[in-house]
């Protein structure tokens, strides 16, 4: 059964939203994500375009500037909530891991 939309975020969704804490042009997100993750996470251009459209439709980000085809975006309060929930979920996962393997390192 398909998961409800944005209940959990994929790594690519997570980093796109994270990089939009401050205003950023869509096209600059490629570099910002690469920089933030030390090139560990890459987002395809088609995926980036479609996810930005989906985040806009869901009200998780908003457009700040429109300069011809260059558009900048920033996270909305709703987007921050979604990101925060995902962070909590990841923390819980990390805590569960620690509880199981914590003492082995």
């Amino acid at each position: 059964m398909p998961r409800p939309k944005f209940q959990t975020l994929t790594e690519q969704m997570f980093y796109i939203l994270l990089c939009l804490k401050t205003e950023c042009y869509g096209i600059d997100l490629f570099d910002r994500i690469a920089e933030k993750t030390n090139r560990r996470v890459t987002v395809g251009s088609g995926t980036l375009y479609n996810l930005l459209e989906q985040f806009l439709d869901a009200g998780m980000i908003r457009e700040v500037k429109v300069e011809g085809r260059r558009r900048s975006y920033i996270l909305t309060d709703m987007g921050k909530d979604v990101l925060a929930k995902e962070y909590q979920r990841l923390l819980l996962q990390a805590a569960d891991y620690s509880a199981v393997f914590g003492g082995e390192d």
């Binding site: 994929t10 690519q12 096209i27 395809g44 251009s45 088609g46 995926t47 996810l51």
Partner: protein
Amino acid sequence: MNELKHRLEFFSFYDHSGIEKHLGEMAEKGWLLKEIKRVTWVYRRIKPKKLHFAVTYYPNASDFDPEPQEGQMIYRDYSEYAGWKFVCQSAQMQIFYNEEEEPIPLETDPVVEVQTIHKAAKKSFLLPHFIILGLSILQAALFISRLLDDPIGLLSSTTNLSTGFCWVLLFLLCVIELCGYYRWHNKAVKAAENGEFLETHSHTLFHRMILAASVFLLVYQLINMLSTGKRMMLTIYVLLIGYMITLIAVVNAVTQFLKRKKVSRGANLAVTLIVDFALAFAMIAAITFGTLRASQSGLFHPEEDTYEYGGMTFILYQDEIPLSVGDLQDIDFDGYIRESRESESIFLGQRVVHQWPRHDTSPTVKVPSLSYTLTIIKEPALYDWCKDGLLKKRTDKAEEDGVVFSRYYKEIDATPWLAKEAYQYHFGEGILNQYLLCYEDRIIEIDFNWEPTEEQMRIVAEKLAR
């Protein structure tokens, strides 16, 4: 050396994996896709090299857009930034290539990819295929209904059989395309849940077979019409092929012209639809009216004389017929029309013959006339079905002066007809001189306007049953 190459390609709308692989192979052979036209894909010559291709879908795009939408251009900007060069688009499908050895794919999230393809498919792939599937099922129902109602009429006509077969091909095409799509989509959704991409399967061989069967049908029909010398049918057939080609060419030209003039998508769609319907209606009306007039004026039978009666022109058919009134009795009358119409398929052959006096014959002149239908059954398994079909077709009720009469065939002694079985037509209490005669490989239905003698019955058998 040609710098351009036109190819017929047989890919399903959603078959992005197949298209990407094929375009990569073409590039390695020195051909890069330049443009997708209505019928063919155009390639331009390049230095052979290894290129990566990506086929993506932009669901909001349309063939009627005067130019790419802003969103599409942003999409292309992102892709170009990532090293993907735009090749061309066809409606919602966009094709890119990348020269890097290991480029970052255009789609890195399988869930988003499947959602985008499905959104695009719902708009321009699934709906038209479901409509054609519905129409082909309706045609199949009509075909079966006619097969039960009039098996001889249907099975003896190559045109009817070919038309039915065309609908079968369309039905198969839709079933394969829709099943193929949903099969891929269901699996792709599950795979995407696990973060995996699922490649599509190509049905190019099946598409080629459908095209080959369609071309075979067209040629077979043409040869059949040329060999049977049916000038009118041949003319209509050629006109209909011309009609289809003209309609597609004109509608495409209108759409492209309006796109060049930067007319909006909605206006382009509306004008194209209006031109499509108006042209289709006008051309069908012209073909119908033209062939009717040509037929009435005897254009399709230049060797036959015509005569005028009641303000209309009639053709004085003098066809060769296997049994004439003169074979059955001495008659001194030269005002007969002898008309013979034949149709034939791989299952049945049918010949309908009339020998009637001309319409302008004085009503006071009483001359014998004769009509018969000769049905030759090539496939023995169809014999009983055809016979029962004929008996059933002639069994009905008719009302005359408020009285209801039953009409039906009743079995009679077949010996005088030298037949296996013989039936005579009854109208209420009355008996008509209309007979259904069953021989080894043929069924004859014959109608006299006099009561035939035993000698005449024997002549009928000798002339028609051999």
